[in-house]
Subunit: 359 residues, 2 copies
Amino acid sequence: MKILDLDLGDRSYPIIIGTNHYANAEILRKYIMGKRVAIVSNETVAPIYLEKLATSLESYDPVSIILPDGEEYKSLNTIDSVIDQLLAARCDRKITMIALGGGVIGDMTGFAAACYMRGVPFIQIPTSLLSQVDSSVGGKTGVNHKRGKNMIGAFYQPKCVLIDTSTLDTLPSKELSAGLAEVIKYGLIRDKNFLFWLEENMVRLLARDPAALSHAIFESCRHKSEVVADDELERGGRALLNLGHTFGHAIEAGMGYGNWLHGEAVAAGMVMAAELSCRLGWLPRADVVRVEKIISMAKLPIRAPASLSVAVMREHMAVDKKVTDGKLQLVLFKAIGDVILTDDFSEKFLDDVLADLRN
Amino acid sequence: MKILDLDLGDRSYPIIIGTNHYANAEILRKYIMGKRVAIVSNETVAPIYLEKLATSLESYDPVSIILPDGEEYKSLNTIDSVIDQLLAARCDRKITMIALGGGVIGDMTGFAAACYMRGVPFIQIPTSLLSQVDSSVGGKTGVNHKRGKNMIGAFYQPKCVLIDTSTLDTLPSKELSAGLAEVIKYGLIRDKNFLFWLEENMVRLLARDPAALSHAIFESCRHKSEVVADDELERGGRALLNLGHTFGHAIEAGMGYGNWLHGEAVAAGMVMAAELSCRLGWLPRADVVRVEKIISMAKLPIRAPASLSVAVMREHMAVDKKVTDGKLQLVLFKAIGDVILTDDFSEKFLDDVLADLRN
């Protein structure tokens, strides 16, 4: 078992990485505040993992809330339903909520915890690679709006993040790859050595080699923790974690939530960021090829769908949260392992990249 | 102009009390963070006050969002509509939102600001007495759920509260009285001298004497600020501000939102708290009479409606946010000016009070 501490003053918490320990009541007990817990999961994850967790927490009279599975249900309506179920079960301010599932479950449970009676404690038990390496850490919670992804939410930190790598055994391959997109991201934005390690070990990761996965998760969480500790509310450096995300959100929203996985869209988006950086003269062509290669190795897309028009993508990009005083900002490359948030690019170059990088 | 400072470390802000200054751009400018503002108001307040405010802030390219008027619209659906309008107007993270209206507008604008892109700055310009003396100060924001009042929300502080007593000139008498319920509350929970002053000056307040109103507002905001500065997140003393509110919420919810004004329900609730305290032997009968008298002087109800059953009230009280580990807690009197939060009362006495204090 490895433990990382995310240092946020009185909101600090541990990220506990291990195997076969997701239902370990001895560990969880320390982070449960009152006498009851409410476990939020979805129709896919619950049948596999919920019973064991609920049984281990039997003394906390657990309430189980099962949501439909998919990004398309990440909405204010679903939050309303979670809150309705909490109230129906007479959960009070001392309830501790537990997110058991992937990124969508974590984001929604965290936001419901942030809003329920103006805030109750919650714990993240991420069961997908993407949520283990990225979304469960750092306190970004929220839901989508039909006009844009994650437009409604809160910065709200969990009491702990409990990562159990054995839950990846049941993860569909497509979702394993989607998680690897965020792993690759850390290499691209701030750690050339880690990128090199990923290039050497991608085959092991795809084969779910436990030691390789554990190393990739630990390094990803370490990077995420460092960035968040420096800039919890994304006033500066945290925005760099959004490499590929503005493009990716436009692909996700443009195709309709639930059609492209978040990680897949981010993967294609990171290639777009590299390509635009190259055309601006900031990144050598060989590095664009290197970005495309590692993403392809992870069995992820390097192009947006041909059916998606530039106009539709631009429409979605215009409501990105990083737009400042009306100006779009993008995370672009200065080099591999060195990125910046900038509005210093030609709109025409951007349109060309969007048009050209489609299948 | 009088200024009170609410001391909350890096979330501190001023409460600026004056007359004919709600649209003073020189004052507001200091608290507007970016280049644009979004003013949220309702169908009743907007026709009277919006144009002057929007004109004075013309250089901030103001977006106006007009909501329907009434507690029954204080819902997640309305928040969704506010966010939709912000996105449609291309408001980014640098938008400053301004609440122009009573408590419902303030609570919803604050919650929308807390959630929009995970948080944007906002300013309170309360136009009702109730919002000026209570809800605009202290950062409680949120909406109702059909199962309970203010069940969904956030603690989220404004950048400033700008109180203009001249906006009370257009306030319906019923709402003036409703605001006086919260003013009386401060006397009852922590300031016998202020209660005495209110007993002497209630006629002037009802006649809207500017000096009397200004004094009552200043004293109320001073009390509220002191309590909130000590306990922002309501882990202790702040709960005492809820005198009469658990009873009041049950009346409001039981009668259907929008039928009883919040202040009216709290008024009857404070009498219930006094009566229960008396029956527990904690408060002399003469003090119950005194509570009833000051509330009657303010033209507020001292009884719940006869049509409301004890069972319905208890049902709503059971989901109160102060319920802890399943046990209902109430703010009760030790004496006039001295209240406590306690679960140390007999359920039968409570039921009797609910049954007896109906018209």
